[in-house]
């Protein structure tokens, strides 16, 4: 089966690169440009995994993460947080709110793909 992946980021150029990367890896890719769009997409599309940017207008990645984890129906959605803020406290906060993994920008595309696969494989 093809995994469904949602990419949520407000930087258009990052979206372009990530969309290209994930499509190349054969995933079913959906896109959200802010926090509210992202939350709608998660509840509507039920993606297997979300690449979630932290600094987004509307709702921050942290808020989206928290609300997703609050809904029992969405407990299978895996969340990989992406942030340009590399402080330890930010990482700790994301994990505490229920993110499954965390990567700081800029990231290596290879590592990102590996991580995404690693997060999806055990469930398969």
């Amino acid at each position: 089966m093809t995994y469904k992946i949602l990419i949520a980021d407000d930087e258009p150029n990052i979206l372009i690169s990530l969309e290209f990367l994930m499509k190349r890896e054969g995933f079913d890719v959906h896109i959200a440009r802010d926090g509210i769009e992202a939350l709608d997409a998660i509840t509507g599309q039920r993606p297997d995994l979300v690449l979630l940017d932290v600094m987004m207008p509307g709702k921050t990645g942290f808020e989206v993460c928290q609300e997703v984890r609050a809904q029992d129906a969405l407990k299978d959605v895996r969340i990989l947080m992406l942030t340009a803020k590399g402080r330890d406290t930010d990482i700790a906060k994301g994990l505490a709110l229920g993110a499954d993994a965390y990567m700081t920008k800029p990231f290596s595309t290879r590592e990102l793909v590996q991580k995404v696969r690693a997060m999806l494989e055990p469930a398969a």
């Binding site: 590399g86 920008k105 595309t109």
Partner: protein, 922 residues
Amino acid sequence: MLSAPLLVGASFAYLLMLFAVAWYGDRRARQGRSIIGNAWVYALSMAVYCTAWTYFGSVGRASTSGVWFLPIYLGPTLAMIVAWMVVRKMIRITRTYRLTSIADFIASRYGKSPTLAGMVTLITVVGIVPYIALQLKAVASGYAVLTTLPGEAVAAAGPWWGDSTLYVALTLAGFAMVFGTRHLDTTERHEGMVAAIAFESVVKLVAFLSVGLFVSYSMFDGLGDLFARALAHPELRPLLALEQGRPFTYEQWFALTVLSMMSVLFLPRQFQVMVVENVDERHLRRAAWVFPLYLLLINLFVLPIALGGLLHFGPGNTDAEAFVLSLPLANGQPALALFAFIGGLSAATGMVIVETIAVSTMVCNDLVMPLLLRTRRFGARAGGDLTRLLLLIRRTAIVGIMFLGYAYFHIAGEAYALVSIGLISFAAITQFAPAALGGMYWKGGTREGAMAGLAAGFALWAWTLMLPSIAKSGWMDTGFITHGPWGTTLLRPEQLFGLTGLDNLTHSLFWSLLANITAYVAISLWRTPSAREISQALLFVDVFERTASSGPVFWRGRAQVSDLQPLIARFLGEARSQSLFEAYARDAGVARIDQIKPDAQLVQFAETQLAGAIGSASARVMVASVVEEEALGLDDVMRILEEASQLRAYSHALEDKSRSLERATAELRAANDQLKSLDRLKDDFMSSVTHELRTPLTSIRALSELMVDDPKMDGQQRQHFLGIIVSETERLSRLVNQVLDMAKIESGQAEWHNSEVDLRALIVKALDTTREMFRERGARVELHAPEHLPALRADPDRLTQVMLNLLANAGKFVPRGTGHVEVRVRSDARGVTVDVHDNGPGVPAEERALVFERFRQGGHGVNRPAGTGLGLPISRQIIEHFGGRMWLEPDPGQGACFSFNLPWNTQKNPPAPAEAGGGDTP
């Protein structure tokens, strides 16, 4: 006429009402919700000055000599003008040293002398007895007027048991006992009594004013009519002028003013309500003018009532003192007459109650107690609770004083008018003035001086005023008045040493005060005071400079708590003594009473507490008998004073130190807080910069890796990615430049190349630069600027940077195709203002405050325009560097309007690095 039972019944009902007020006042005081803690109540209680003498006597006086009733009320007004200086000092002294009466006040000042206290008390008793007699006489004759048929002579005096005055005296004595000595608490204050007196003052004022209004406006056709008729009457006309057939006696007028001025300060009842019962010194501010106003009001209708009575009953009517009662009665207003009688009764009752309570306290503390305490049975080493004994003595004293008043009334009362009796008392009380006022302001006054002055003044008062008054009533041979004692004409009491031309009151006042002051000053100067006198003088005169807690304590010796506590208990009761010592222990910071350090401070505390109950002189004797004291010499007093003032200086210095330390601490804390917040800002700034740098890097890295991984990538796709990489790189370099720029400006290291700037040309150039961008977006740009603008002194490159930034900003937000940007330049005397107004979406209200903060970019997501979020903050810093201001118009209509303003005088702002920073920067 009114029936006797009605009159008696109404009187008793009124007295019971007074009692209810007093009971309520006491109850509230016990609950801690005092009703006398009020400046108005205080002022009204001072109106106890207005007695039956005022109520009945003034009208009598006015009916024979016109305005001559007035000096008795002008004097108190004068006294009240200086009350803030004099009375406040009396209050402070009395409060600080817990004095109980005028006798205590004078005795305490002169070394707590029991002899002096006794002397003052004796003079008071002798002087005040006629005054009490006056009240009895007023009530008794008022009663007679109301219960006798018009025209019928007042019934001749019957047997003593039928004498209404005796019953009046007994009733008033009973009430005084109930009011003043009801409690076992023998401390000096009586809240319920004060409440009753204030109430009583209202009643007598309203009653008197009612009669006045009735006479003026019901019997006569207003004041104009009344005075017109009086002026038309040859016998009454002189009453309304200065001279009444004989030259105006200014000296007597002056003497009466001085007399009443002193009396209002030193009469025992005035001292009681004004000084002892004062709750708060600040109440004096209001009372000082309300009390004179009360006096003015109660005197307002004295002349109209007197004239009305004379017009109604015919001139020459000798019973003018009863006009207040007889006028309403004769005009068919028995109810008003009854009310007027209640008012008069009220005036008499108030006076008698307060006066007897005050005098009985003096008699008990300063006459009886010193004698009793010398005896073996009640002496210092004897035990036993004496609180009941104190009450008994006071009650007996009240009855005794009333009896003396009654006796005087029978001896001299019938022969004299009310006013003359009152003046005799006033003259006696005035004898206290030199010792009391001198004691408050002159440290040199001594005990012997005060005693000599009082003795001389009192003797001359008795000889020149008191004895003649008794003699003239027929109880003594008047030969000594006309021929002098033993035929010595020089010693004739009313022409002493041949001094003639003065009326007998002025004559007496002159000789007695002259002798009094001379003896006081001369003996004081002649004799050296004792150490105790000196110390008390210092405590009195400088009372405002020290408080009880920080003042020097002139005592040295050894004391024990176990001796002092039982002593206090004997006079104040076991429970009160216990709570007083517990409170002292708490203040001293020890847990138990037996841990109290028995030092001078404790002895002083015990003595002061005791003074509140038995007077300072007796308290001194009592305390001295249970502690071992060392006699202090003059040098010791001076040394203790010196130590105290040094201590005070030290504590001042210490306070200053601790204040400046506190200030320094606060400054340090503020600096630390500022540093912390700066640190936080810097942290935030770094985090923001990092974020802004990483975002373009993310795209660049991701896209590059994608291209590396896939060398066979479609050419168009590759071209697209490379385009993104180039633009993201540009974004990075722009960001780096602006961050550096910002840092330079904020740290003051930016270089400013100032020159004369033509702002219009500069803006035109900036518009040229951005023309291509606007054309691309299909936006129209308009410039409205005056042709000629004065030159500005600024850095043209920096101003261009600001303009370009604002224009680029506007360009980013205008709608594509229909964009419209307007640049307006306005100049006035102070400077020039530039607006850049676009027709874009505008700035939402919640973001307005943030637009000038770093890394806050308008818009978001895909429609976020390119920019670093540093343009506006940098622009604002530049404008502020030139002394101007940049802001976002709060309500520009459509779109957003950024404005900045530059003052003309920018050349006066040298580009000093120190002030280059905006202020709120890391």
